[in-house]
Subunit: 345 residues, 2 copies
């Protein structure tokens, strides 16, 4: 099942809010539909929203009724601005939009039709490179996975979070394909249950044994010796190796260290934000209270209660055993090893 | 609102599964109704199920049609056995039933009517002592709470988990009543959301500021410096100070130590099981998969996923800063300090 599909004049997004019960595509004809799909998490996961925003920008450019190249560029830049503000934490969103604008600028001057074609080509390239990058990440990362490993993951860093195959789940898939007979514990990942709904679904479909736990069970799971390592994705990695990822990741990292378990982060190099010295600079999205107070539309918490609902947290680099990227696996000191990976950019 | 009420020939249990939306009492006329209410968590929390089982035993004894005192005793013992197997982890259940049987045996021989009256008196004493004990615990415990403290708690160790006032929430209430202007972060406590449904409700009703978080947010909350201490209840405490409590407690204790925050456990001395050397001997209840795979009756996880659903975990004594009991506050080494509290039993 594809996370998204470009059909030349329309862009289809799998509506992940309905999974696993309902698998329907949202048919987008202009960029506001893509922005809305990103905002309401129909498409989510840092690499996936990067690729979706790129295609959204193509739709926006395609619908412009302007002939002047400079006005065309200005209007596309405005649309990119709007797409970039849909969600603040994942750096891939800005990375993909910047790359699209760079391609557009390098095609200037040109007729709007030619410029749109160049942008569509770039968006398809971003999508294809993400898929290929995930396969590479899988090959690099699976070397860290022992045969028979019992792997804990959090949220969904799978095919659904990317152009396909997945980052953390790509590493697990590659280990599975290498015959390592791994099994997976999926943290359900409240409030939106991406672990229960999406990761469990991907693993069941691939025939990889998967056991669901609530987020509060991870510590006891480790204390009982039932897990060998943790692997998660990332929404943004600072140049020092601090990792922003789905809320709950930091707690897992502390628990992994307490139990002497490796804690791996899998993400394409496009998730690394070399402009940030540390994770303190990563903006953390806070989402609305209803995600926590309501379940399946039913209010469970009383009126009058406050809610704190950050969507991500920051795990300090010192708790990260290794970062698995599409350019190779790096270990501390990340200031040095991440910079080396970036050489030639 | 009372957690339970004895009405002489009937025993009313507040059905907590419907809270906070629906507050209805279950009217019990014989012990199997009480056993069922405990099993389905209509009444839950270690001290509350102890008291409820005691009243259940009175109902069972009341309905016996036997005149011979020895046969009466044997039949009551059978009923106690059935009540004691409803849930395995909380030691207060067995503690209360043993106390009821001891009272019955010490009243022998006697007419069934007299024996039932003695038992009813003992059950009311257990209930009253729990309430008084919680007030004492509150007074002892609140001395540990600084003015303005931001307190994280987990699950519901409140009035609803006890005869009234609560253990962990009793400490918070006492601090509030002492004018300390505390505020509370309530972990929602998946899978059954006792934090979101019950703790948030108790705090809102008492006018104590309360903010709800999902269980995975606790680590980031601490990392952001938003919490000063943790206080939780307990279902069983081993003689070395290891604490069984609601699943997720262990993870909070590890995180509290990582951030240099005090981690307090509040429980009546009846929760201490001096027969156990360590927490390794505490039986941990595992509950059914549907609690995790379904939300409000709707399946959220795919078919084919496995589930691990332990209801409790064990926090090693080394992570517990102090245990607040109705006999006073004890600190490590718990082997010694808990034994001293028990002298004179």
């Amino acid at each position: 099942m594809e996370t998204m599909r470009w059909e030349g004049r329309e862009f289809l997004i799998l509506d992940q809010t309905g999974l696993p019960g309902r698998a329907e595509y949202i048919r987008c004809r202009d960029y506001p539909e893509v922005a809305e799909a990103i905002r309401r998490l129909s498409v989510r996961g840092a690499p996936a929203i990067g690729a979706a925003a790129a295609f959204g920008l193509v739709l926006g450019a395609m619908n412009l009724k302007v002939d002047d190249p400079l006005e065309f560029l200005a209007r596309v830049e405005e649309i990119a601005d709007r797409l970039s503000t849909t969600r603040p934490t994942a750096v891939n969103l800005n990375w993909a939009l910047e790359r699209m604008l760079a391609r557009l600028r390098s095609s200037m001057p040109g007729k709007p039709g030619e410029l749109v074609a160049a942008m569509a080509g770039e968006a398809e390239k971003i999508y294809r490179e993400d898929l290929e990058g995930n396969r590479k990440m899988g090959r690099f990362g699976q070397e860290l996975i022992p045969a028979g490993a019992r792997i804990l993951t959090h949220c969904n860093a799978g095919a659904l979070a990317t152009a396909g195959y997945g980052t953390a789940l790509g590493v697990i898939r590659a280990a599975h394909e290498a015959g390592k007979k791994v099994c997976v514990y999926a943290g359900e990942t409240r409030p939106l249950l991406q672990g229960a709904r999406l990761t469990a679904w991907e693993m069941v479909r691939d025939g990889i044994p998967v056991t669901l736990i609530t987020d509060g069970m991870a510590g006891y799971l480790m204390a009982k010796g039932m897990v060998d390592l943790v692997v998660v994705g990332a929404d943004r990695i600072a140049s020092n190796g601090d990792v922003a990822n789905k809320i709950g990741t930091y707690g897992l990292a502390v628990l992994a260290r307490e139990h002497g378990l490796p804690f791996y982060v899998a993400a394409p190099f496009s998730t690394v934000d070399m402009s940030l010295e540390s994770g303190a600079g990563i903006p953390i999205e806070e989402r609305n209270a209803e995600e926590v107070t309501h379940l399946a539309g039913v209010r469970v918490a009383p009126e009058g209660v406050g809610v704190w609902n950050p969507a991500f947290d920051v795990t300090p680099a010192r708790l990260v055993s290794a970062i698995i990227t599409d350019r190779g696996v790096v270990r501390p000191p990340y200031e040095k090893t991440l910079r080396e990976l970036g050489i030639g950019e």
